[in-house]
Symmetry: C2
Subunit: 431 residues, 2 copies
Amino acid sequence: MTQLELAKKNKISSWMRQAAKEENVNPAYLRKKIAEGKAVIPANINHRIKNICAIGEGLKTKVNVNIGTSTDESGIEDELKKLEVAIRYGADTIMDLSVGGNLRNIRKKIIKLSTIPVGTVPIYEVSVNQKKKKRDFKDITLDDILKVLHEQAEDGVDFFTIHSGILKKHLKFLKNKVRVLDVVSRGGALIASYMMQKNQENPLYEHFDEILKIARKFDVTLSLGDSLRPGSILDGSDKLQFSELEILGDLARRARNKGVQVMIEGPGHLRLDEIEYNIVMQKKLCSGAPFYVLGPLVTDVAPGYDHITSAIGGAIAASKGADFLCYVTPSEHLRHPSVDDVKEGLIASRIAAHAADIVKGINGAIGWDKAISLARKKRDWKEQIRLSMDPDKALAYRTSSKAELSDVCTMCGDYCSIRLIDNCSKTKLRA
Amino acid sequence: MTQLELAKKNKISSWMRQAAKEENVNPAYLRKKIAEGKAVIPANINHRIKNICAIGEGLKTKVNVNIGTSTDESGIEDELKKLEVAIRYGADTIMDLSVGGNLRNIRKKIIKLSTIPVGTVPIYEVSVNQKKKKRDFKDITLDDILKVLHEQAEDGVDFFTIHSGILKKHLKFLKNKVRVLDVVSRGGALIASYMMQKNQENPLYEHFDEILKIARKFDVTLSLGDSLRPGSILDGSDKLQFSELEILGDLARRARNKGVQVMIEGPGHLRLDEIEYNIVMQKKLCSGAPFYVLGPLVTDVAPGYDHITSAIGGAIAASKGADFLCYVTPSEHLRHPSVDDVKEGLIASRIAAHAADIVKGINGAIGWDKAISLARKKRDWKEQIRLSMDPDKALAYRTSSKAELSDVCTMCGDYCSIRLIDNCSKTKLRA
């Protein structure tokens, strides 16, 4: 039985217990949320996950890190280093988005080494297989798709991004050039190209029940991909985006009815003032399914800094109810990310998630801020660094520049406001 | 006459004309906003400013860069490099916060080299002068203060941060340990320490009219500092902060009545969900004076990344009406910033400002996003890089990793969604 089926039968699984413990919430609360479809535990029955996590309402905002080879950079060593860095710096999940090299080998290594849940976009492998056979993507068969899904599920993938929501009717709109950037989802573009060239309906939509069968068998959580994710803030919140979201809501309910855990993917590039509306509508149209957003990037103009444009959008989105943030690296729109980019992107997303968790009232969130602020007041540098989100960077900065007075930093030196007041308080206020 | 006095007399100055042209707004609009006290043009009559700017309602959100020596790092060369980088990467104003070395020399050099308005916190120099005379800060006289103010105004400083709002009644509260971090403003802490040790009222409050006289004479814009700026999100939006803000509102009205341009400084560390309320209250209590915020930092836990915690808060604050963002560097809370830190901090703040300007509906803001998105669709890399907020970094990333196909990047390579769709469109959609 899947975690959803167990929850519906009022059973608290050991995964639920472990995830609830991690969050310091009541296991009964988590079970209820899973039964309602408002939380998921991505955990394939074939993957031994050390650090399980639940994603959804009332839980800590989670952060995903994308890794994986590209057609231009297909070495596995770098990707494994990225995995290591992602885990060390606090990623909750990993997605292997490889499209270069031997995909199954890479995936198996990642699943084996990952202590956290692993997601994939199986349509990538379908496409890579076609290329290997020197066949066109448009000539894929249902069997090609289901074979990959089954194999990946068997290998232990914990969640699949499935682009079932884009339909023929959407492509008609695209023809009219209503968008600045039509389709910017990689998986979505593959499916759209198939549909355009064959003039057929989306096979991932038409055969959704067969996908559900595989997902149910291995308890793979489905992450319903938004092929029509806006790729420019000018396309954000448009008819296409919301039309697909409605379809995703219907599919989410079908998945739940079949005992399959499900979450919904969301934008993308969005104006800052449209983010709240997007979260409200997703929760409404998808009956409270966990919302997994990429960014949102609040402007298109800052390539090289899209971890920041995304952190702004992610913090707002999560504070309004988004449950799961897909990180974006400084390399987005420019190159395959380096190991450093992965770290920078992850920390930016974790900052966004934590800032939102304070607003959400998540257990322990604001306590962390209090603890570091008290250490700051005491000018206890060891403790400040220990409590930093990235102690390594904080320590490197601290030690790079030595103050004459050991209890301050070189920013203010003698003029440290905290020290000034503290000295006065000692002599005057406490007198 | 000051810009405010001219505006009140219905006169459009050449500064107003120039600033309005920069923004592509009607000079009459800008004049009206200045007359109402809702916009300012920081421009000392003794400073030849090449790139003038107006700050306030209906105008582009501006970004300030703090530079200046510390007691531990007092070399001027680095600070001049920071000035150069700040100007090159689009800072609207500079503040010289030096407290180490020969302050007047440094200031004069910065004013001479700066093509943009320059601000200071004159109480720093008052304190440094005392130290040089081996006298205690608490023994400063009114004359010590006014002499520094006059000299700095004569040197051409365009705006002064003045900490006039902290009063004896506030210090009583602090005694009760109501805060995690009492006073974190450097200037505020100096004034507070004077008041604590002498048991006297704030001299910058008591002699505010004399400060106004100097400001009026040289048309120095006053930036009323928030000594009680929260230094931890747990202290945000507390009674102390708002009590000081009320005083700042009164002082702002007094300044305007004397023909002195004025803006208000604001937090600091704030929970994400408290930012909007802070902006609304500032605008209300200060009769629409331009609001100059430091951050706000939406969490205390990320030293090494406070340009990001600030960009999140700054984007939200500006989208809700804050007019002027003081940048924060990755070094904040850890060390005196390096030249690179200055650049990283500036770009993060500019991203926040631009994301907000889209929401504010500022002329040309969303047009920039459209232009870069169209270049992205065409995979016109030269144009994408040219239109990037930081073309140097975008180019460096782009060239660091070469794709086999020249019109894509190594992130997706063959799987570039834009290219996939474009190829289909060419063959199918357009058929």
